[in-house]
Subunit: 325 residues, 2 copies
């Protein structure tokens, strides 16, 4: 969105100064947005991350694009693994302001809360999510006021999931306020960042019973749709597959533009989609009432648009107008 | 988005009071948003509309859902046709605040601007778009201040296209400030409202050379993806096809849940998508370097996640903690 803001800058005469949205960050003018980010060196992660909680385990996928304008595009990894093999494996993915995300990660790695809990001794993933939420609040206390003085909201969104010995796999989405919700069978996945482009394919194919590799394939297709439609999301991708009860990273790969599988997905999915598209019949207009196959409209039911007919006086004004031209 | 705001209301303890976005309307609290809309009877069109400008003519598709909360969902048509057969055919689609949209439509239908121009005598679609933009500004002058006092931004977005005798087909997107941009071959389509879910399929299949009925099919698939992923978009749909140089509505249909063609699209597209999804190979992990087919990772290149190992002191705190439990 920051990129759009810069584009808008060049087109100030033709585009309105609409509020720019960047995660939770709303500013009235894209100028302010860009200036602020240049001034603060504050990169924003307009990311796409998705995580799925399935019977077989967990799937995590993140991109790595950050930007503070078209000439300040960078690569920062948004996925962090907290692993104590045999005891726990946890993954954190972040979207929003990069300085906030990095501070949260640092605090989680190092600190123990006042109640003695840290990410390594939490006895459940719910407790670990509280540790993450507390870290969000700590950074809020430290940075939010200063950011606000530069017109920047405290903007961060996190996905946190994994397994701690003795528990099943769990998956949480954590908000800027440090509160969180958990995924259940009815909500198999969480997305943060530019979520909408890649949502339809997940809605269509993923169920809790989907095998891990099939879910990985779906996540990559979802990412491909997002990459094609939104310039603020970019390669390389981090993909992590966690198999239930392994208590360590099962499979991990960083995917760049040369990755054979992702290349195949990008080519095949687009081609196949076009093929399916072409194989679906075009609509039949004004079909006979009994010939219902592919009838978009039938002769017996004529629907009418909300139609405004010209007022004769207004049309005539036109007549006299054009005659004087 | 208003619906989400209401959901958030019930979950105030678990969800943050994040800014609610409704088109150009940004409010800090969903409570304010909902109260405002109830108080003002101000329905908001969180719509999905798409229009395409092709060599063969124009395609317009709009949904008809409006809402001011889950218990105030209504149906209002968002597509209006301004037609003077043989002379001009113009279509207006609106997204945003319903009272603003309706006022704009009323003004366009009735008034002539100070310079003598109205929608019926404009000599080009660019001039007609200016008439629409002026109407937006007239409503802004009249309503924006009062709306602002209730915390509601002046929020409207329009697609306007058609043909006036002597010109080719043209298509415009008009903003809340009354300014506008025009579609060209590089930008074949405009969307307003909940645009992201349905964007990938358009990006993949539509070119300026796409025939009208094929483009209609694509618009319906794009709408289907949006309907499935977003509750704020709903049936019935208005679809209008305009064939170049007809200077009158070529084909129009209102599509409800019983429409055979749309039913077929909804079933077939989902099924075929799943079939294609299943036909694509699952990733191969840790493939041999020469067995590149579908290799997501190879044995010779082991990528590593950003991994944080436990600090022994922190883990031990856990040990003593759990031993006291």
């Amino acid at each position: 969105m920051c990129i759009l803001a810069v584009v808008a800058r060049g087109n100030a005469a033709t585009r309105p100064l609409r509020p720019a949205k960047m995660g939770n960050l709303f500013l009235r003018s894209p100028f302010t947005l860009v200036e602020c980010h240049f001034a603060l060196g504050s990169l924003t992660i307009m990311t796409y991350c998705v995580a799925m909680r399935l019977h077989a385990g967990l799937v995590f996928l993140s991109d790595s694009r950050t930007n503070a304008g078209v000439d300040q595009v960078g690569t920062f990894r948004k996925m962090t693994v907290f692993e104590n093999p045999g005891d726990r494996m946890m993954v954190l993915m972040t979207s929003g302001n990069l300085s906030i995300s990095q501070s949260i990660r640092q605090i989680i790695s190092e600190r123990t809360a006042a109640n003695g809990k840290n990410i390594w001794n939490a006895t459940s993933l719910h407790e670990a999510a509280q540790v993450v939420g507390d870290a969000v609040r700590t950074v809020y206390q430290r940075d939010a006021k200063s950011l606000r003085e530069f017109g920047i909201d405290f903007n961060v969104s996190l996905i946190f999931g994994g397994q701690i010995k003795g528990e099943r796999c769990r998956l949480f989405q954590i908000y800027s306020a440090g509160n969180f919700i958990e995924a259940h069978d009815e909500t198999t996945y969480f997305q943060i960042g530019e979520a909408k482009y890649g949502k339809p394919i997940i809605d269509r194919v993923i169920t809790p019973a989907t095998p891990l590799d099939e879910a990985a394939k779906c996540a990559l297709i979802s990412m491909d749709s997002t990459l094609r439609s939104n310039i603020s999301v970019g390669l390389p991708l981090d993909m992590l597959i966690y198999e239930d009860d392994k208590l360590a990273v099962t499979r991990f790969v960083t995917i760049d533009e040369k990755n054979p599988y992702f290349q195949m997905i990008r080519n095949t999915w687009g081609q196949q989609l076009k093929r399916v598209f072409e194989s679906i019949a075009d609509p039949v207009w004004n079909a006979a009432p009994d010939a219902s196959a592919h009838a978009l409209s039938v002769t017996t039911i004529q629907s009418q648009p909300l139609r405004i007919a010209p007022q004769q006086t207004l049309v005539q004004q036109g007549g006299s107008d054009s005659s004087t031209c």
